[in-house]
Amino acid sequence: MAANTKEKIEAQALLLFSRQGLHETSIQEIAQSAGVSEATIFRLYSTKQALYRETVLHHSALDGIDLMPLRLSLTMEDLRLDLMTIARTYFKLYFARIHPLRIFVSGLVQVRDLREFGYLLMPPLVRFLEDYLTEMEARRLVRIPDPELAKELFHALIFKDVTFLTTFEKHEEWSEALDQWFETEYPARIDLFAGLILTDCGND
């Protein structure tokens, strides 16, 4: 079935493009990994560029993200605990889409029109944090001197960490090791975020 075959091809193409880059990956390699013939690939995609484009488009789609479980797991009282939960979830979500991220970071200059689908920070996650902070502010549990900056700093650090983890330590998925890393590194950071970048209304 063409749909299934396409999925198989694109899954392999995604990995190879992510790890090696567009130019360094050949149709032959993709064909071999996917267990199809080169002819099949050319029949379905006509050019490597087209395959690249469709692979990236299909895998960077954000409509599959469901943040309801996250919303339900928040206390809406304990700012620090909630921020830890949010940050941990965000890391997992970024790692779930690590390959499109790696492809964007390594430069999408080859296929310009994909830019609009590109993201360094995932928009639904940015909005979610914004909504959370607004709600906590309404409950008078936090004051936010500079909301734009707060949002940006929270996300930018996660983006930077994800990029560093995948670049320098070659992580391609969330693991127990990363969970431990997170539990070690983030409490102090969240503490600073809550106390300095926001102002938790404990000492009002």
Binding site: R19, Q20, G21, L22, H23, E24, R102, V105, S106, G107, V109, R112, R115, L120, L121, P145, D146, L149, E152, L153, H155, A156, L157, I158, F159, K160, D161, T163, F164, T166, T167, F168, K170, A188, R189, D191, L192, F193, G195, L196, I197
Partner: protein, 205 residues
């Protein structure tokens, strides 16, 4: 033309070629031609294509270690101090974005080499934290978790650098004021949150 400038020219051409056409498709012959040198000169300078690749990355991250003690200014205006420091850091990060583009191609980069580059970034973090310590010891700012604060500030600048580079590649020319805007915002934020409330210290900025 000195050997040093030749070396840099070759690296800059090589970097462009690696980025546009990929490692495999870039040949030392092409690079030499575009750089206007003999292929033998290229080999004398780099020995192998692989060395050239790594040297290109090293070149774009070399400045990370050069932001030395002279950048740490402790003038009377806290906000201005921060602005100058942050601007320099942002410029550095922008210069390293090309290196990241190549580094992230996992399969091509030597592990030892990755360690070297990572170390450079760590040094930068250490430097900024020392800077904050210095500000605090001079009574210019309050004490807080400087390590964590450094993480956020550098994270913000790193992300900003990517945004800037991507916009530039899209053909947008970003006016200097826009680039300064982030640094101003961060400087204002740091000043406002950290400035010493103690009456003895001078109000900066």
């Amino acid at each position: 033309m000195t050997l040093k400038t030749t070396r840099i020219r070759v690296i800059e051409i090589a970097y462009q070629q690696f980025l546009e056409h990929g490692y495999k498709q870039t040949t030392t012959k092409q690079v030499a031609e575009l750089a206007g040198v003999n292929e033998s000169t290229l080999f004398r300078l780099f020995e192998t294509k692989e060395n050239l690749f790594h040297d290109a990355i090293a070149h774009y991250t070399s400045d990370l270690l050069q932001i030395g003690m002279e950048s740490l200014t402790y003038g009377p205006s806290v906000e201005e101090n921060f602005f100058v420091m942050l601007k320099r850091l942002l410029e550095l990060f922008c210069e390293t974005v090309p290196a990241f583009r190549l580094l992230i191609k996992t399969s091509l980069v030597d592990k030892r080499f990755l360690e070297q580059v990572r170390f450079k970034f760590e040094s930068l973090k250490h430097l900024f934290k020392q800077y904050l310590d210095g500000m605090q010891r001079r009574g210019l700012i309050e004490k807080t978790d400087f390590a964590a604060l450094t993480d956020y500030v550098l994270g913000g600048l790193f992300y900003e650098a990517f945004r800037v580079k991507m916009a530039q590649e899209d053909g947008e020319t970003l006016p200097e004021e826009l680039l300064d805007a982030s640094c101003r915002r961060y400087a204002a934020f740091l000043t406002e949150r950290l400035i010493c409330a103690a009456p003895a210290a001078e109000e900066g900025g």
